[in-house]
């Protein structure tokens, strides 16, 4: 268009994962990509992260599974899914015909589970990448979550890395004292990117105050309420890893996208807010391009990392691996 800067929002993530733009939809909020197709032009999305997928089918947790909280929601779905073989059979042929890349979110109860699911996804047409949900209890290790221990997080990442050539994203849990050693372990184990954050553990009280509201007692908090926590974690992780970071946590408007880019994210995932506003992700793509034009930029990459201390962008700045950030 004459008089306007042509803006290229595309990014190339490691192992050839090319996204048209940095606006993705988060796992668990967009099903398998088909549910919203009546009202959303899904092919315009940067990528779709599908519902968490496990080796065997899971029926999930007892209800109630969701409840609204101030500026957020709690969910305890319990990884209900038909299992990896059914997901591949039912959805991957459809995905293979799509322009938008589909990243399969993978969960497990043991390293063997993750490895088996990843190897069954490797080479499947329509599967563009894997996002590891490591906020699951490691049944063999007393039920401790992989995500809260650097050694366990590194071990599961390395094991999956060994069996797949697919782009490998690993999703950080915010429910830890210090996320940085965990992020470094994940990077060292060969992850291609980090996604942050998963939901924050919380509970709600039920009617009559006789018991917790959710059937599973504990749920994961998401939505705008968690954005400051997500910003803090992306800010911390961006200073200790070199691999790209994809931010998640309450994105509701363009300002949120710009904030996450400023603290070092290369892309964002939209989740809970799209339940209220399904057209938000596609609108954000247009708004981000318009913002770049307003700033006279032909790419959004100069907006990445501007709020980080002494480091402009995780993709272009010199490595700071091993450098501790001390507040």
């Amino acid at each position: 268009v004459i008089g306007q800067t042509a803006v290229d929002l595309s990014i190339e993530l490691p192992r050839g994962l090319r996204l048209d733009n940095p606006i993705l939809v988060a796992s668990g909020t967009f099903g398998y990509g088909i549910e919203y197709s009546d009202v959303v032009d899904i092919q315009r999305l940067g990528a779709i992260c599908c519902k968490g997928t496990t080796l065997r089918p899971r029926i999930g947790n007892v209800t109630p599974r969701v409840t609204e909280t101030p500026a957020g929601m709690l969910n305890s779905i319990g990884l209900q899914n038909p299992g990896v073989d059914a997901v591949v059979r039912k959805y991957s042929p459809t995905w293979a015909g799509w322009h938008v890349p589909v990243i399969v979110n993978v969960a497990g109860e043991s390293i063997d589970d993750y490895v088996e699911v990843a190897s069954r996804l490797d080479g499947v047409p329509g599967v563009a990448g894997i996002e590891l949900n490591i906020s699951c209890p490691n049944v063999g290790k007393g039920g401790l979550q992989f995500a809260i221990d650097a050694d366990a997080a590194g071990a599961v990442t390395a094991a999956v890395r060994d069996v797949t050539e697919l782009p490998l994203l690993v999703k950080l849990s915010p429910n830890v004292a210090d996320v940085r050693p965990i992020a470094r372990a994940i990077e060292a184990a060969g992850a291609d990117a980090i996604t942050a954050i998963n939901t924050i553990s919380g509970i709600a009280v039920g009617p009559g105050r006789r018991r917790p509201l959710l059937g599973n007692v504990y749920g994961g908090l998401s939505g705008p309420a968690i954005k400051p926590v997500a910003l803090r974690i992306v800010y911390e992780v961006a200073q200790v890893v070199d691999i790209p970071i994809i931010a998640i946590g309450g994105v509701a408007e363009l300002a949120d996208v710009l904030d996450f880019l400023a603290v070092g994210a290369i892309a964002v995932q939209v989740g809970t807010v799209l339940f209220a506003d399904p057209t938000l992700p596609v609108r954000l793509i247009d708004e981000l391009a318009a913002e770049c034009r307003r700033l006279g930029l032909d790419s959004y990459l100069p907006l990445v990392g501007t709020a980080l201390p002494a480091r402009s962008s995780p993709l272009t700045a010199p490595s700071s691996k091993g450098v501790e950030y001390r507040p």
Binding site: M73, P278, T279
Partner: protein
């Protein structure tokens, strides 16, 4: 399913804390069927981040209006009560599976408990329009919560039960059902879970049509085989509901309402969770596991 901007036309508190609201939303008056619902976004986005599901209470194509009926129970529904004529809200719909009336059914028994009226109200209009006879059994705690008969079509036989006996039958609405069971070809219910579970127990076995020959019925359509109502029909399929004596409209906390988040499931009789927003909210009573507790 579409996203539609709807404008409030009229808002009325028809019973203490219960509201009936009419919206101008012509696009939503073409296509929706009784039992389906809309997911409406509260405009106060400072704290309320989920949409609220409402059954289509009535749909009028001529005026381009739909109505919803709800009780103000929290901050979201409170927000809706403060809407004024001309205010606009964002509606996603129609969503979910509708009631299915068998073409052979002439007598429809509708059973509503409290706010469950909103779940079956539209079916009364549709059935009367198709020349069917409708009896509506309604239960509430007391006379002050009884849905006004002036808001129902004249042709409906309206029978009321109140828990405290202040109006109509003293007792539960389910007490009234046996008297109508012989008359009814099909029954459709919406209300509290214990009421629906009681109705499901009453309806169990009804589909075994002892001694009824399958004369003139086409084989292979699941219609004539005694004792096997829709055994081959998938949960959520129209056939499974059409062949059931009792269809129930279920309620569950919802997130997305389009089947993506899996927040609103009910356990079915085969032990598989079914999405209330997608496979439901209307199910054949025989499809659900009423003992599962979820």
């Amino acid at each position: 399913m579409q996203l539609v901007a709807a404008e409030l036309v009229e808002s009325r508190e028809i019973l203490p804390g219960q509201w009936l609201q009419a919206f101008h939303a012509p696009a939503l008056t073409v296509g929706p069927r009784a039992g389906q619902f809309v997911h409406i976004r509260p405009g106060d986005f400072s704290g309320l981040i989920l949409r609220r599901p409402f059954s289509f209470n009535t749909v009028d194509r001529a005026s381009g209006q739909i109505t919803i009926h709800y009780r103000a129970v929290g901050r979201g529904t409170d927000w809706f009560t403060r809407l004024r004529p001309g205010d606009r809200v964002d509606m996603l719909g129609p969503l979910g599976q509708p009631f299915e009336v068998d073409p052979h059914s002439r007598h429809l028994l509708l059973i509503a408990g409290g706010l469950g009226m909103a779940g079956v109200r539209m079916l009364a209009d549709d059935a009367l329009r198709a020349g069917r006879e409708v009896t509506l059994l309604f239960g509430a705690a007391s006379a002050t919560e009884v849905y006004p008969s002036s808001l129902l079509p004249d042709e409906v036989e309206y029978v009321v039960a109140t828990d405290d006996g202040s109006l109509g039958h003293a007792g539960y609405v389910t007490d009234l059902v046996p008297a109508y069971e012989g008359w009814a070809d099909q029954a459709f219910a919406c209300g509290p879970l214990p009421m629906l579970a009681a109705l499901a127990r009453l309806a169990a076995g009804r589909s075994s049509r002892l001694g009824v020959a399958s004369l003139g019925r086409k084989p292979g359509r699941g219609s004539g085989r005694a004792g096997s109502p829709s055994r081959t029909a998938e949960p959520g399929s129209p056939a499974a509901r059409r062949k059931a004596f009792l269809q129930v409209s279920m309620e569950q906390n919802m997130g997305c309402a389009v089947g993506a988040c899996l927040g609103c499931v009910m356990m079915d009789a085969r032990g598989a969770p079914q999405r209330v927003c997608r496979e439901g909210p209307v199910f054949a009573s025989t499809e659900l596991d009423w003992e599962a507790g979820w």
